[in-house]
């Protein structure tokens, strides 16, 4: 990767992740990196994620409608210069991947998860090639600058970002920026040519507000924000409704909407929207200080309910936090459950998410 030398120079502890060598932490450590992102600004290298352009062969609308055939999401209603969260579903209503996509006037820009990108590109190519070119972008880096000082820092290099709102996208010469992220904080995601990435990252790191942040803090930040990690909290067995992602299914694609259904798994997803899912992703607050990691079994009395899908310690909430799946009748906030940690049943309470208030600039 283009930024590998920089990570090593910064003292990053490199680990294999989704086929890439990535920094799990820098010398400051996960706790300080996490807290710095919440109070100032953190710089993340997320170049391993997949960047894809859908370039219409005919009209933009034709491509947008074709993209809607893969997701329970209103693509057509996204205005130029705006980004939206999306999910590819399968015939069973499970989730193949979650993603961000943006209307960039004459084409759609898509960012998908690293571990899924090969499959996603094949999926899009198989279903969309009739109406658009599916162009995998391999010569661009992707950085994220997150935190309350992100705007101040980035505006020194790209002044226009100060006027952007949450989920706006902009093209500034060779630099593509969205006001979004994966931490619950205000911030930006920045796509730029790989050849320019190291110098750009270094300019940001030279600013007093900015610290490099590894994958460890990226995970604790997104967990506090209640955001799903694909492969843990959502996968091909979880539906968007079970996962608490119904907000991502706009009215136009629901029963009675202008373009109702017409996506893989519509029968299950529309049914769950109408009558409620059998199980739900919930936030969990373990009592005491012991974290409940993923795969911790959850119980109500003797009944096995499900398991934790993400869990750890929240540096900003200063307590262990987790999320997992339980049957709907055990999903109300305040419900007392138990999690089995090292053979012992420990009390845990269903809690509202996000665990840490988000600070998006609306």
């Amino acid at each position: 990767m283009g930024l590998n030398d920089l990570h090593v120079a910064l003292g990053g502890k490199m680990v294999p992740f989704a086929g890439y060598s990535m920094p799990v932490q820098y010398p400051a450590g996960v706790m300080k990196e996490h807290l710095h992102t919440r109070t100032a600004a953190g710089l993340f290298d997320v170049s391993h994620m997949g960047q894809v352009i859908l370039r219409p062969k005919g009209s933009y609308e034709e491509t947008a409608l074709a993209f809607e055939s893969l997701m329970p999401v209103d693509v057509l209603g996204v205005k130029p210069g705006r980004q939206r969260y999306g999910l590819f579903t399968n015939e069973n209503g499970g989730i193949l991947d979650d993603l961000m996509f943006a209307n960039r006037g004459d084409h759609i820009f898509v960012v998908v998860n690293a571990a899924c990108k090969t499959a996603d590109i094949a999926h899009m190519t198989a279903h969309l090639s009739g109406v658009c070119e599916v162009v995998a972008i391999t010569d661009r880096a992707l950085l994220a600058l997150q935190g309350p000082e992100a705007e101040t820092a980035l505006a020194r290099l790209v002044p226009e970002v100060a006027a952007m709102k949450f989920m706006d996208v902009g093209v500034f010469g060779d630099i593509w920026i969205s006001r979004s992220g994966y931490t619950g904080e205000d911030g930006f995601e920045i796509s730029l040519p790989m050849a320019d990435a190291e110098a750009f990252a270094q300019k940001l790191l030279d600013m007093p507000e900015v610290m490099p942040i590894g994958l460890g803090a990226r995970d604790s930040l997104r967990l506090e924000a209640g955001l799903c990690l694909y492969g843990h909290d959502i996968d091909t067995t979880t539906s968007p409704v079970e996962a608490g992602l119904s907000w991502a299914i706009q009215k136009a694609r629901r029963a009675g909407g202008d373009r109702e259904g017409g996506f893989p798994g519509a029968a299950r997803i529309l049914r769950e929207l109408a009558t409620g899912p059998a199980r739900c992703r919930v936030g969990l607050r373990p009592e005491g200080r012991a974290p409940m990691r993923d795969h911790t079994a959850l119980f109500a009395g003797d009944a096995a309910l499900g398991e934790v899908t993400s869990g750890g310690f929240g540096p900003s909430v200063e307590a262990p936090i987790a999320m997992g799946y339980v049957p709907a009748q055990h999903a109300d906030i305040g419900t007392k459950l138990e999690g089995e940690v090292r053979g012992k049943r420990m009390p845990v309470t269903v809690a509202a998410m996000p665990f840490q208030p988000t600070t998006y600039k609306r």
Binding site: Q25, V30, M31, K32, G216, A290, R293, F313, P320, R342
Partner: protein, 119 residues
């Protein structure tokens, strides 16, 4: 001070042995957020999982370095697990043991040998 392959240190204090984890181990684990301590007055055997240490990244077991009885635990770690990172060789100690036989300590590494192990 003696050192184990499991990155624990052992310091003789009268007829007791104080046990903690090395600075190398504390750094590798990252920020410690939870420590589960053994119960006092339990008999343990070498290799028993007597304590659990959770960092922001993962959980690790602390093993009993030799046979003996747990005589004291560092209660301060319950409320302030970060002591393990701040002062691993001092205030971040885990527990004290009364050994059946102090001579078993001879089998462990001295500081030079341990430094060679982690070099």
């Amino acid at each position: 001070m003696k050192y184990t392959k499991e990155h624990e240190w052992l310091r003789v204090e009268g007829d007791l042995v104080v046990v903690g984890i090395t600075e190398h181990a504390a750094t590798a684990l990252g920020d410690v957020v939870f420590v589960e301590l053994p119960e006092v007055e339990t008999q343990v055997a070498e290799g028993d999982e007597v304590s659990v240490i959770e960092s922001v990244k993962a959980a690790s077991d602390i093993l009993a370095p030799c046979d003996g009885e747990i005589t004291a635990v560092n209660e301060k770690l319950t409320d302030n697990p970060g002591l393990v990172n701040e002062d691993p060789l001092g205030a971040g100690w885990f527990f004290k043991m009364k050994l059946d036989d102090l001579s078993v300590l001879d089998q462990f590494m001295n500081e030079d040998e341990y430094n060679d192990l982690i070099a």
